[in-house]
Symmetry: C2
Subunit: 385 residues, 2 copies
């Protein structure tokens, strides 16, 4: 007998109240019943996003909305800045490349956060060199919580920099929304991208963007080709409380329930809980003599830990999953086998962390890593109380 | 107390066995457990598609895969044929337009099917005029079952025409797959597009395409921009039993269960059942003195019926839904208020049809339509037995 615990940075576990909604008979999407759900979800997403802007919902993975944030804002010949400090920052670059958008890449060492001053310098230089406003950098693409490294970017600081420039701020908050603060309006985030399977606690399959008036102005001028992810079509449909294409009905219904849970707990309590859990995870792994992968820019949603020397990182993750039923994530791409990642997002609780840490201890002990057994769990107990 | 019956052409009702799978705790997508599911689903989709080609799965509505079938096959300057005999045929035209693809539209009167000879004539003319093979029409976009009109296209005949030409055949089978025959390989369908919420009996949120070797050859040359719907990325991931982006995990798991049900019943039995039910619906409405909207080209998935003179079509649909809990579809766009549509797709049974027809009779009687009460249900009983 094995009991499964999921502590991966997406999908994250789904609360039973939410799971139950998906087993209900389906309803048609062009009915007053579903329109009421669209309205509720739209309202509650604004609460989570801390925005007055429209929030658009797509039947897609988060990547679809990331693509949307490129093809709707830009036109051929436009320039952008892309902050690349992990797999998902790099993805923005790949999307720009696919659409022929010339971009200045800020390549940040994996495990570090971007210095907002670098963004300022590039924008300043661009402003000096480019007298024609229309030819200036149109958008800055960055990431709230880089899932691949656990790094959090100081979006508030980036937003402050951008207030003096014309470029729009696009933030991939897929791994951060509802796990750590993102004050969309206050911080000046023009397009905030997110997904369903992280802090929002429902299965993957929905993606979201909030769109500011400044972003809508760019969208009006954008000539890159688009259809399924055409923001204007979603905006137009929303005025009739409708969707341009068949929505993922039961995921939207699940979202309504998850948003109810979020409102019941309130954003501030949620952020405190995530912060405390992430702090506990960091304390626990440090107590076991392990090293954080991003000690200077950790996030509250996922913690990346270096695999200690002599230990097979992929085997560690696999053993925890297959022998103990505890799902954590390994490293991706250039840090494959070198890090493991423990999520503290959404419906992951202190009890899950206790089980996770005890399992990590058991497996590391088995694999020959030298540390004081119980030190991780003890540090959790000390910090979670 | 009201009991709901859904007879709309998507979403269609979901079997309890399938609903139940979606209430299970979520699993991670990069695990051997999910890889096994990908393999099973891929295999079973090939069975439903009657193909040896790869079938790609997207987290999206069907429209996303329709867009994919344009942007992956074509390049700027390419020419196409688009058969437009309803809302969804028109959508292919809108997508081509969004990407600057020059297309010859075959505008078919709503309620009629395209004459394959018209396609032949255009291709023949193009071949005569265009000596450079590279400049010839690259693809023909058409629809198996046009949801908006209930019309079925003779894809086998279209396929025969195309065998003599270089153009690829793309079929929107979103409303037809697993409801009426589509022999992908035998009929020469190069890209067959489908969606989850019709014959496949799961909620909306997944889209599919099968891709023939001929289509892959076009894809290799295609230079239209794409990212999320890049077929090559999905093909590449599939070789590692993976997906390029986070899949809609619980919808894929639901699909596995639905495909099991389909295999248990077998395609031939399913097609017979759909054919019989659609015939019964046609018989019933005719017995009530109603007129079919597409008497010459009806499909087995959805039947469109003309709203009789003096009856408010939108009120009819609304009353059936709100007073009796029976969901059927009204007309869209240019036939709004002029037709209603009864689906016989997926998990819709003879019992559902009996309830639907009795309700239709009750509401029409109430609205002042003159007919013999019981005639519709009696015709159903006669033909369903």
């Amino acid at each position: 007998m094995i009991k499964n615990y999921l502590l991966t940075p997406g999908p994250t576990p789904i609360p039973p109240r939410v799971l139950e909604t998906m087993a209900r008979p389906i309803i048609h999407h062009r009915t007053p019943e579903f329109q009421k759900i669209i309205q509720e979800v739209e309202e509650d997403l604004k609460y989570v996003y801390q925005t007055k802007n429209k929030v658009l919902i797509f039947a897609a993975s988060g990547t679809g909305a990331m693509e949307g944030s490129v093809i709707n804002l830009l036109s051929p010949g436009d320039k952008a800045i892309v902050v690349r400090g992990g797999k998902f920052g790099e993805r923005f670059g790949e999307i720009c490349k696919a659409y022929g958008i010339e971009f200045t890449a800020i390549d940040v060492e994996w495990g570090k956060a971007v210095d907002p001053e670098i963004i300022r310098n590039i924008l300043e230089e661009d402003e000096r060199r480019t007298t024609n406003h229309e030819r200036r950098i149109k958008a800055v693409y960055t990431t709230l919580c880089e899932t691949s490294t656990g790094v959090a970017t100081d979006i508030e600081a980036v937003g402050k920099v951008l207030k003096n420039y014309e470029a729009a701020l696009v933030v991939d908050a897929i791994s951060g929304l509802a796990a750590m603060p993102i004050k969309t309006d206050e911080w000046g985030v023009d397009v905030c991208v997110s997904g369903s399977q992280k802090g929002l606690m429902i299965p993957p399959g929905l993606a979201f963007v909030s769109v500011s008036p400044k972003a809508w102005a760019l969208i009006e001028k954008s000539t890159l080709p688009k259809y399924y992810f055409d923001f204007k079509a979603y905006k137009k449909a929303l005025t009739k409380i409708d969707t341009p294409f068949t929505p993922a009905v039961n995921l939207v219904i699940a979202l309504r329930e998850a948003l109810k849970i979020i409102k019941e707990e309130s954003m501030d309590v949620i952020f405190d809980r995530h912060k405390k859990m992430a702090f506990s995870v960091r304390s626990a792994v440090k107590a076991m003599g392990l090293e954080l992968f991003s000690p200077d820019a950790y996030s509250d949603g996922v913690t990346a830990v270096k695999v200690p020397q002599g230990i097979d990182g992929e085997k560690l993750v696999k053993t925890m999953r297959d022998k103990y039923g505890v799902g954590i994530a390994g490293g991706q791409d250039k840090v494959k086998g070198k890090i493991f990642r423990i999520a503290t997002m959404g419906y992951i609780t202190p009890s899950d962390l206790i089980v996770c840490m005890a399992t990590l201890e058991a497996v590391l002990l088995d694999m020959g890593y030298k540390f004081q057994l119980g030190s991780g769990v003890r540090a959790l107990e000390e910090t979670l109380k």
